[in-house]
């Protein structure tokens, strides 16, 4: 883990209220897996005391670059959206353990993303697709919120669902799973808690991994802000340190 200044290489709107930012710097060299995240300092001085966590959507060790996709929510993401090429961002990371991809071979894998839960799945799909057959179901609010459809299509059979039916399937990602009626060997999901809970229930017989969000303080396991009840000895996990990815049987959503 590392704290450093990363340089903004680009920062652009890619869907409604959704930005893609590319950052360059040595923190990238420490990334070991898809699904890890970075903790970004926001604002000047000590006006914003909490960093903001964002999943690493993609990374390129050689180019020393990583990509984040973020949605405008409040002060922090608003501030981020004004950063221009050439400016520096103070980043703590990579944090968390990310998705286990080592040794997964010849499987039919389902990847399920909802909204800003889609980004961490992109590099995951890239990696898994080299030795597996990957199907991706990506859910968005509506047509203008969709991003990265083409990019996913290059590595996975990609299905899009929108809440309002303005594009692709109308409804939730779980509806799409139902309609497919296929049995997968393994799944990976990231998205709002409600979606993760529904997926966890729906695919109860399948080995799965869930990437979870929670409001964070330290981001490094010291403050107990980000706990989630779990079926383990301690009765909880810390999302920042033990996660953000957990086996679907471990966490109680």
């Amino acid at each position: 883990m590392f704290r450093g200044d990363l340089e903004v290489k680009s920062n652009k709107l890619i869907a409604s209220d959704t930005f893609e930012i590319v950052l360059q710097g040595n923190v990238v060299q420490q990334i070991s897996r898809p699904g890890q995240f970075v903790h970004i300092k926001i604002g000047e001085g000590s006006t914003h005391m909490l960093r903001r966590p964002f999943s690493i959507a993609d990374y390129n060790i050689k180019a020393n670059q990583l990509t984040i996709i973020y949605k405008l929510i409040g002060d922090g993401t608003e501030w981020l959206s004004h950063r221009r090429t050439g400016e520096n961002l103070n980043v703590l990371g990579p944090l968390g353990n990310g998705f286990e991809v080592e040794g997964i071979k010849d499987e039919h894998i389902l990847v399920i993303g909802g909204g800003v839960g889609v980004p961490p799945l992109y590099n995951l799909v890239k990696q898994l697709s080299t030795q597996n057959h990957v199907t991706a179901i990506l859910g968005y609010q509506s047509k203008d919120a969709i991003f990265y459809e083409q990019k996913f299509s290059r590595f996975a059979d990609t299905f899009i669902a929108t809440n309002d039916g303005s594009y692709g399937y109308k409804g939730f990602v779980t509806d799409v799973i139902d309609q497919m009626g296929v049995k997968f060997d393994q799944y990976y999901a990231c998205g709002p808690l409600g979606m993760l809970g529904a997926v966890q229930q729906r695919l109860i017989d399948v080995d799965g991994y869930l990437s979870i969000e929670e409001r964070m303080g330290c981001g490094v396991g010291a403050c107990f802000a980000c706990v989630c009840p779990a079926i383990n000895e301690k009765g909880y996990v810390k999302i920042c340190q033990d996660g953000p990815v957990f086996h679907s049987k471990e966490v109680t959503l």
């Binding site: 883990m1 704290r3 000590s46 005391m49 303080g217 403050c223 107990f224 009765g235």
Partner: protein, 302 residues
């Protein structure tokens, strides 16, 4: 410059320590720098039994501050002694244990157990945690209860006993005087102020516990006022805290009457902050013409 300070019989190599609850049990921050750099380490609150704490969300950001309602989550005093303290033992940095509970008996039991550990050099009696429904806070707002509790704990410990005061009171001096009379060896101040943030969409408190403790630079003027006020009335050592982010802030607390300082929230924005403060303090002291920390003694007394 010699930065060492004395808190009663406890000598610290410098006046900088992380505040309880913001540094876990030290392990995580040891990735960032050598914990031997610190004046002391205050570990997360210990209770009699393991506690899961409050539901999430537990933190929110506020202007120049944050709210937290962790709810004293911790593995319980026995496991802390067994699993957490061994990691800290080899460091040459005194460890201060934060003692919490929901009843007098629990506080006393936790204090007694922690006092047996040679790794622990002092106790910080947390009579002021605003995020626990039962107990906790009342001990910090009623001088009589604060007196009683301090006395009982003092009876079972041979460690230095710091009492951590709540700022959510009309008259902090009366609490400080009460715990001094009960035998406290020092004061820690301030804990967080009770606050709330509402989520405009759900129209409900953003933090699941509804209220949370306000910390960070926003509360610094209140901390400085209270330390200054208490310093007029006691010569007990004071560990000052509340919004410290810079070496200038450290100096302000020392002038106000603190003997050492603890840094909480700032660790989240900058995990290297405590070490950076240790490094920067001499420079800032010199900039203000201060050649030894002793010069600041009594600056506050008006």
């Amino acid at each position: 410059m010699n930065l060492s300070v004395k808190l009663g019989r406890l000598v610290l190599k410098n006046p900088i320590m992380p505040a309880s609850g913001c540094f876990g049990f030290g392990k995580e921050f040891s990735q960032f720098y050598d914990l031997n750099e610190l004046g002391a380490i205050v570990i997360k609150a210990a209770t009699g039994n393991p506690r899961f704490g409050n539901p999430t969300p537990r933190v929110a950001e506020t202007p120049s501050g944050m709210l937290n309602a962790i709810g004293l989550q911790n593995p319980g005093v026995d496991q802390i002694i067994e699993n957490e303290l061994p990691f800290l033992e080899p460091f040459h940095t005194p460890v201060i244990a934060n003692v919490a509970g929901s009843s007098e008996e629990e506080y006393v039991e936790v204090a007694r157990k922690l006092s047996k550990s040679s790794t622990i050099k002092a106790l910080e009696l947390n009579i002021s945690c605003p995020n626990v429904k039962e107990g906790g806070i009342q001990f910090g707002t009623e001088p009589d209860l604060a007196y009683e509790l301090t006395k009982k704990v003092k009876d079972v410990t041979n460690k230095l006993l710091f009492v951590k005061l709540s700022p959510n009171v009309t008259n902090i001096v009366s609490i400080a005087k009460a715990v001094e009379e009960a035998g406290a060896d020092g004061l820690s101040m301030i804990n967080t102020l009770t606050g709330m943030q509402l989520d405009l969409k759900s129209r409900k408190p953003l933090i699941a516990n509804e209220t949370g403790g306000l910390s960070g630079p926003a509360i610094k003027p209140i901390a400085i006022r209270m330390i200054h006020q208490v310093r007029q009335q006691t010569s007990l050592p004071i560990i000052g805290m509340g919004g410290i982010c810079t070496a200038e802030d450290v100096l302000e607390f020392l002038i106000a009457g603190a003997d050492a300082v603890a840094v909480g929230t700032a660790n989240f924005q900058n995990p290297f902050i405590c070490k950076e403060l240790v490094d920067n303090l001499p420079k800032v002291l010199e900039q203000y013409g201060i050649h030894s920390l002793d010069e600041l003694k009594g600056a506050a007394i008006s």
